[in-house]
Each structure stands twice: as structure tokens, then as C-alpha cells.
Symmetry: C2
Subunit: 344 residues, 2 copies
């Protein structure tokens, strides 16, 4: 359970909760436990997400599922979700009953929105459906990332500082566009960051067939033959991180060296992967990456991210303008730039 | 999300919560939402447990991980855990604030105990450690099954009926032995039930290498050479439910038919399964099952289960004796027999 939380991370969610609370004059002691709880939720989501995406790397180390197996990793995520309850119930002694219950309701909504967003993304991937528009992507990201990373921390900080529900919701609405900008930059970094120091699966979104704004736009800009080929690649499954991927590579190698008959090769392939399509290969991923490059989809996504970041920055600025100057206010004012300028 | 809850199940946990509440004079309207929540928790645990155990069957149908893949199944479990929050927060309007918060604390403890029990079991399996004593098994089962299946439902029903924490805890202690009896019978059924109508993976505990009282006793009673062989089998991994297991079977078949060279066969095995031991095979499982049969370990486990069931029955009877007669009291009095007499 301590593994992911002790790896180097940005601690962005607790930072937003603390800054929101303190910018509105709330005390650190009131918000600290809730802020830490949001980081625990984030880590639990990461652990389960890494299994779902079959990822290798997280924060520059092997994912928990790679280190300890899928079974232990699922259970550690569940244990971490359970571990969020004591600090949330302990809030009663720190911030009073009313605000504690409001925080519980925010957390409940957050967990639901995240699961709904995740399910939407998995459904798009499994159906290999690529006719979504940008606003569908924005709705997905709002649920999958925005709610738990930005909206819930902003709401929690504001509520603990003493804002009414209506005031807190008005404040948190400024963070909706920030979540979109942040997620697009996440997707850009997955395809454009330096491989060293990135810390996650480089080009992992392409292996996964994830519906990023980048890939959606690249498919729209591709010519017909490229689009057909790309959709064919995206219809093929992730090769997996286990023995199946390694066995597949070895099988291809033995066949290339003619050390195994064509009939045996095909028999084994069918047994391992059924009658469905063969998994994606490295050359497929290079093709997709080239398509993204050639169509200028990365620049398109960067521009959309910057537009959302600027809008978030304006909206946050408008809401914190009446507050006394403080490092917390400055932090909130800098989030828009941070979302799109960050390199990790 | 609706899949598992709509399959035929015993609804044991909500039944205990309702009976406990009503036997003490509490109203159905007060306990119904909490009882339903306990069933949701149970289903969320089953979904994640089926992934962790690589199970094929649940309630006579394919497990969710088989039907929709591991990724969707993890997320459905998470969504179900999130779905437990609204009814628990909605309790405030039904049973008042004080009792609602006490239920939340029971649920928090329950989620933690379950995750701890699950981790203990996974650790025993991954270490292939078999020197536990019966009291270690009882402690494991108390956490893994007893808390969420019996103790939490009894506590919740009693608290909602108006008992103090101390009274509710005294009542719920009677259910500790019931949990042990129930789990041992679960393990007995896995090895001794009729295959048809069992609804779960028949002999699945042996494939998984699960630390049941049965297998622990069989290993104690085995002679040295049998024990060495059994520990060797148990050190070998689950063959998995995916393409790897099917590919392995096909590979063995091709090798037996000499359609593939010994060198290619071994190359492929090593690629798929590393340098670790080969996965368990059906003959291994038959050997373990025979060992259980020959050593009389099933009868031993049945006797231990009956002892715990009788003790639970006595303890429950003592606690409900002062209550007015009702079908709810009768239900609670019958749980001991039910735990060990049930066929599914």
C-alpha cells in the first residue's frame, strides 16, 4: 500500500485542496486530512488503472501489477479505497459534522464520476468506435479525470474554508476547463515527451488504443486508406504484459527461422488468441505515431489544450480576484499555465 | 453492474441484517437500504475476487472477467463500491445521524478487515507457505469472510434496532464461529459438491492453491513423499484462464504428436512461463484431490465446521432467548444448521 504513495508524484490534488481552502481563509489543519485522502483515492485509481491498461511503468518504476501480480494489485487498490474512510469520518472532530457530511457527498460523487468515465473509455476502446466528436472527449475527460483531479479538490477546499454549496460549486466550475487542458497535455506527453524521465509507458496510449483528442483528430485528417489501416490496427488487441506477449514474439521468431511449421504456428496462434485478430505489433504503433505526426494532430491538441487552460486561468482569476493576496491565490492563478507547460 | 446482483444468490448478508434488526424490534424500513448495501459490497468483492482467483464460473454463469475482460470487471467492482455510498449517506433521513455514522464506521471496519484477510490469503499462496495451524486459518477466515458476511450484518441490524455499540458487539460476537463454519463448508463444497449445480469453479481451490482447512490437514496427514509431491504441485502457478492456458494445452498436444521439435517446444515454454515452474496440470489436481480423500481431511474439516456451527448456534440462542418469538428469531436460530447443511 505504501509503494505508489511513496514514489515521486506531483501531489497535485492535495495541493489544489489545500490552496483552495487557504486562499479562502480556511486553516491547514481543517483541510490536511481531506487533501491526503484525495491523494489516496488518486493512488488507488492509478493502481487499478495500471492493471486495466496493462501498463509497465508508473512514476519511473514497474507498476504494482508487474511487481506483485494482478491479484495483489487489485486488493491493494481496494484496501486503499477502504483506507480513505477513517480520515473522512475523523473529519467530524476537525471541521464539524455538517462540513464532514458535505465532504462525504463530494467524495461519493467523485468516485461515481470517475468509474463512469473509466467505463465510457473502456467501452469506446472495446467497440473500436472512433466517431466521437471533441465534445464527447471533453465529456469523457470531465468524468474520468476532471472530477477527481480538479473539481473535487476545489470543492472540498472551498467547503472546508466555509463556503456554501452554491459558492463552492461556482468556484469549482472554473476548474472544469483545467481538467480538460491537463488531460490533453497528459496525452500529448505520452506521444511527445522525452522517453527518459517520462516515468510512464511511452506511447502507451497507442498500444492501448486510447481515445485521445490527438488520435481522434489524426483519424479525421487521415486520407481514406490511412484511416482504414489505422482502424484495422486499433481493432487489434493489446499484446498484454504477461507471458502471452513474450510467447508471441518467440513464436514469430521461430516461424521466421522456419524452426516451426506454418500449420503448428497457426494452430498455436489460434489457441492463444482465438479467432480474433492478432495483437498489435511495434510496427503498427510506429505507423500510428507517424500518422499523428504527419497530420499535425499533436499541434491541434496542443492548441485545444492551451485554449482550455487560458479559459480556466481567466475563470479562476475572476473568482479569486476579491481574495487577499497569498501564495495560495498565486498557486491557483498559476494552474492554467502549469497544466499545459509541464513536461511530466 | 446489474449482472452479478441479478444472478441467483442466497442474499445471506442482507437477510442476516434484516433478521437481526427485526428480531430486536427494529423496522424493515430502517434496515432495508443498509442490508441492500451489504449485498452490493458482497457483489463488488465477488467481482474482484473472481479476477484475483482467475475463476471461470460464478452463480452458474461465466465470471464477469471472462465475459467482459479484466479491465471492465475491475471498474465495475469499483463502481459498485462507489454505489454503496448514497444509501449509506441517505441513512441519515431514515435512522438519524448517530446511527448512520455508526453504520459508516462498521462499513469502514468491514472493508478494511476484508482487504486484510484477502491480502493474508494471497500472501500465503504466493509464498507457498503451508505451516499455518488451524487457529491461523480461523484468523484468516474471520477477516476474509466472517467480518463482511456475518459480523457486519449482525452489527448493522442490531445498531439500527437501537442497541448500544456494546450490546451490538456482544450480539455480533455470536456470529464469529458461524463465519468459520460457513467458510469451511464453502471449501468442502468446492471439493465434494456435485459438479452440476455447484455454480462455481469445481475444485477451483486446488487450482488456486488456496489454504483451506482441508488441504492444510491433508498435508499434515500425508506421508513425507506425498507431502513433498503435493508441495511441488502447489508451488506451480495457476495455468490462467486466458490464451496462455489454451496455448499451453495446444503446445503440449503438438509436442505429443511430434509436430513441433523439442527445442522449439522448450523455447516457447520458457518465453511464455519464464524460468519458473510450469503451471499446474489436471493430473496434479487429481493427485491433490485423491490425497484429500485418502487422508480423510474432508471429514476432519466437516467435523470442525460442525463444532463451530454448534457453538455459533448456542451463542446465538443465548442472545436471542429473551426476545419475543418471531420468524426473524427463528431465522437467526437456524443459521448454524444452514451453514453446514447447505449444498450450495
Amino acid at each position: 500500500m505504501r509503494d505508489y504513495p511513496l514514489r515521486y508524484g506531483k501531489s497535485l490534488r492535495p495541493a489544489i485542496a489545500v490552496a483552495a481552502c487557504r486562499a479562502f481563509g480556511g486553516p491547514l489543519e481543517g483541510v490536511a486530512a481531506t487533501a491526503a485522502t484525495l491523494e489516496l483515492f488518486h493512488n488507488a485509481f492509478l493502481i487499478h488503472d495500471d492493471i486495466e491498461d496493462q501498463s509497465y511503468l508508473r512514476r519511473d518504476e514497474e507498476t504494482l501489477n508487474r511487481k506483485h501480480g494482478v491479484a495483489a494489485a487489485i486488493n491493494v487498490g481496494d484496501a486503499m479505497l477502504a483506507a480513505t474512510m477513517p480520515p473522512l469520518l475523523g473529519n467530524i472532530g476537525r471541521i464539524g459534522l455538517g462540513r464532514s457530511l458535505r465532504i462525504l457527498r463530494i467524495v461519493e460523487r467523485m468516485a461515481r464520476e470517475s468509474a463512469e468515465g473509466q467505463m465510457l473509455e473502456l467501452t469506446w476502446i472495446s467497440q473500436n468506435a472512433w466517431d466521437q466528436r471533441d465534445r464527447d472527449y471533453v465529456r469523457l475527460v470531465h468524468k474520468k479525470t476532471g472530477w477527481y483531479s480538479f473539481i473535487a479538490p476545489a470543492l472540498a477546499g472551498a467547503v472546508i474554508a466555509g463556503l456554501s454549496d452554491a459558492q463552492a460549486e461556482s468556484f469549482a466550475r472554473a476548474f472544469v476547463c483545467l481538467g480538460v487542458a491537463f488531460q490533453i497535455q497528459d496525452d500529448v506527453l505520452n506521444l511527445a515527451a522525452e522517453r527518459d524521465g517520462y516515468g510512464k509507458d511511452f506511447w502507451g496510449d497507442l498500444w492501448e488504443g486510447k481515445h485521445t483528442l490527438i488520435l481522434m483528430e489524426a483519424l479525421r485528417r487521415a486520407d481514406d486508406s490511412e484511416r482504414v489501416r489505422a482502424l484495422g490496427v486499433l481493432a487489434r488487441p493489446h499484446p498484454g504484459v504477461g507471458g502471452l506477449a513474450a510467447a508471441r514474439a518467440k513464436l514469430d521468431e521461430l516461424r521466421a527461422q522456419k524452426k516451426i511449421s506454418k500449420a503448428a504456428y497457426e494452430d498455436l496462434l489460434r489457441s492463444a488468441f482465438g479467432d480474433g485478430p492478432a495483437p498489435k505489433e511495434y510496427a503498427d504503433i510506429v505507423f500510428l505515431r507517424d500518422l499523428v505526426e504527419r497530420t499535425g494532430a499533436l499541434d491541434y491538441a496542443r492548441r485545444v489544450a492551451v485554449r482550455h487552460a487560458r479559459r480556466a486561468q481567466r475563470e479562476i482569476a475572476r473568482r479569486v480576484a476579491p481574495l487577499p493576496d497569498s501564495e495560495h491565490k498565486l498557486f491557483l492563478l498559476g494552474l492554467g499555465d502549469f497544466a499545459v507547460d509541464r513536461a511530466s
